[in-house]
Symmetry: C2
Subunit: 161 residues, 2 copies
DNA sequence: CTAACATAGTGGACGTGTCATCTATTCCCA
DNA sequence: TGGGAATAGATGACACGTCCACTATGTTAG
């Protein structure tokens, strides 16, 4: 095992603060939605993704891709949402393996109720605290970290016997 | 319901990218630990917190505070770790409600095995990609977001009947 | 054409995290 | 000092997310 550099003070500060921020932020967002609406944070994200489409429908694998979820997670979550009447599943004629996820009237109503409070909270706890430069800096960092992750990913698929 | 400003393009870019980064980063970190060691990411953080103390022990509520966890989460997680022999629980004489969480030899061994790979992954996927300015910027942002969260928190406790 | 492979989606098992609730103890102040 | 409030911790119920294995359908190369 070669020598491993532990983090410098500067690195540690950034890494710790980021972890804490994300944990607390997600917690608050989830809590706000749970308190002020009947939607969980994942529910909310699914419904937003669906209403971004003119017909309010997405193939399950597209939904997973848009949200950055694994397909299994999307399947489980959509199943839960279907049982609560927030979305419906419909078969797909082009590809008979496939399924569409469609937002219901009830889903639209609950999203419309929840959205203002959620957006206000994102502003209050995050966006409104930051300058334009800080927002850009965050986006730059996050995008380069993501690009690096994606670049590494195909390595696994390339591994063939 | 007053009018709510949805996010500008710049704000949305930062917010979305940050969410994605954190989700993917946590996933990779968890996956790396699961693959290369017998520890989960939460396990790892508990053991690090304990070894930061000279005697390898912390009161349960202190552990929760250090990690930024709710006490219930700490209690559940420590129970799971105790059953796997990574930590022990010991009664506290000063405060008979209390309990100490103590790292075991086995816990120390597994942490020592897991640490190099974990740190290397944090470097590879995050720290080493960023400049000093970027690291400082992240830390500044995260700390001000956290300070804002803490500032709001006491409001709830102040609410009395 | 068909055999191998890839992809869409499902479902069970399990670990994780939150909320609400409960007990026991300690703190505090009138 | 006695009694109400705060605190430490445990626990049960439930939602969430991952891994893995599986079915069914589509795609492609020989």
């Amino acid at each position: 095992m070669e020598r491993v550099e532990w983090l410098t003070e500067r690195e540690e500060r950034a890494w710790r603060a980021l972890q804490f921020m994300q944990m607390r932020l997600d917690g608050e967002l989830a809590r706000q939605l749970a308190t002020d609406s009947a939607l969980s944070y994942p529910d909310y994200r699914v419904l937003v993704a669906l209403t971004d489409r003119p017909d309010g429908r997405l193939r399950l694998f597209e939904l997973a891709a848009v949200l950055g979820w694994e397909k299994s997670r999307a399947s489980h979550h959509v199943a839960r949402m279907t049982s609560r009447g927030l979305v419906d599943k419909e078969p797909c004629d082009d590809d008979r393996r496939g399924a569409f996820v469609v937002i219901t009237e009830r889903g639209r109503r609950e999203l419309a109720d929840a959205a203002p409070g959620h957006v206000a909270t994102v502003r209050r706890l995050f966006v409104d605290l930051l300058s334009d430069d800080q927002l850009d800096s965050i986006a730059d960092v996050a995008e380069s970290v993501l690009a690096n992750l994606v670049r590494r990913e195909p390595a696994a698929s390339r591994m063939r016997l």
